[in-house]
Symmetry: C2
Subunit: 137 residues, 2 copies
C-alpha cells in the first residue's frame, strides 16, 4: 500500500453504526436520501481476499442495511454494489431506488434519466441507527 486510501484515512460518510469490523455510513447525496455504504474497517481489496466467515459477516451488515432501508423508505428496488475501482478498499453501496429518481431505471452511475428527482424524505438518522442496531446487535 503506497497510495493513501481515503477509506482508511476517513469514515467515508456519517457513521450510523459500527462494530470494529465494519461501519455503516449515510451518504450525503440529495438525489438518493438513505443511500448507505457498508465499509470494512480493514484495508482489503476484494471480497475473496476475506475469509469466508468475514465475507458472511460483512454481507450480514449489507443485508441488514437493505432490510432497514426497505422498512423505512419502501423503495421500488434496492441496488447493491461493491466496485472499488477508485478506492480499492472493500465497501458496499446500498442504494434505495424509486421509479422517479434521477437515474431510474438506469444505475446511479449512468447519465441521468431526468433533470432532478422528486423531493423525497430523508430517513431520520436516529431511527436509522436504532433500526440497524436492533438488527445487528
Amino acid at each position: 500500500m503506497t497510495e493513501p486510501c481515503e477509506l482508511c484515512a476517513s469514515p467515508g460518510g456519517d457513521v450510523v453504526w459500527r462494530d470494529g469490523f465494519c461501519r455503516i455510513v449515510l451518504v450525503d447525496d440529495p438525489d438518493y436520501p438513505g443511500f448507505c455504504r457498508v465499509v470494512l474497517d480493514r484495508h482489503v481489496r476484494e471480497m475473496t481476499d476475506l475469509a469466508p466467515a468475514d465475507r458472511a459477516r460483512l454481507m450480514g451488515a449489507v443485508f441488514a442495511t437493505e432490510a432497514v432501508l426497505r422498512d423505512m423508505l419502501g423503495p421500488h428496488k434496492i441496488n447493491l454494489a461493491s466496485l472499488g475501482n477508485a478506492v480499492p478498499h472493500v465497501h458496499w453501496h446500498v442504494i434505495p431506488r424509486h421509479r422517479d429518481d434521477r437515474h431510474f431505471p438506469k444505475p446511479i452511475w449512468a447519465e441521468p434519466s431526468r433533470p432532478r428527482s422528486a423531493p423525497r424524505a430523508t430517513p431520520d438518522r436516529r431511527a436509522l441507527a436504532a433500526a440497524l442496531e436492533a438488527r445487528l446487535a
Copy 2:
C-alpha cells in the same frame, strides 16, 4: 407477477454452471470478456426476500465466480452488483475490470472513459466451466 420476466423466460446468457438453485452465465460483451452473471433460478425481487441460508448460498456462487475470474484473468479489480431496476429478478453482475478497459475507473454503466478497450483474451469457456464446477461441487 403480471409483466413477463426475461430471466424467468430465458437463461440470460451462455450457461456455464447450474445447480437447480442458480445459474452462472457468461455475458456476451466485447468490452468485458469474462463478465459473468449469477442468476437465481426462482423469481425473487430482493436479496432480503430470500431466507438467510439462500442468500449465503447465492453469495457462495458469486464469490466462486469472482475467485475463478481472478485466477483466470488477473483483473485489476472485480466489480459486483445486484441492481435489477429493469429486471427485478435477483441476479449478480461479476465484472473483471482492467485499468485500460472502456470505462475504468468508472462503473461500466457510466459514460465510457475511452473509445475502445484494448483487445483482451476471453476466458476459455470449457476451462471456466470446469473451474466453477471444481469450486462449487
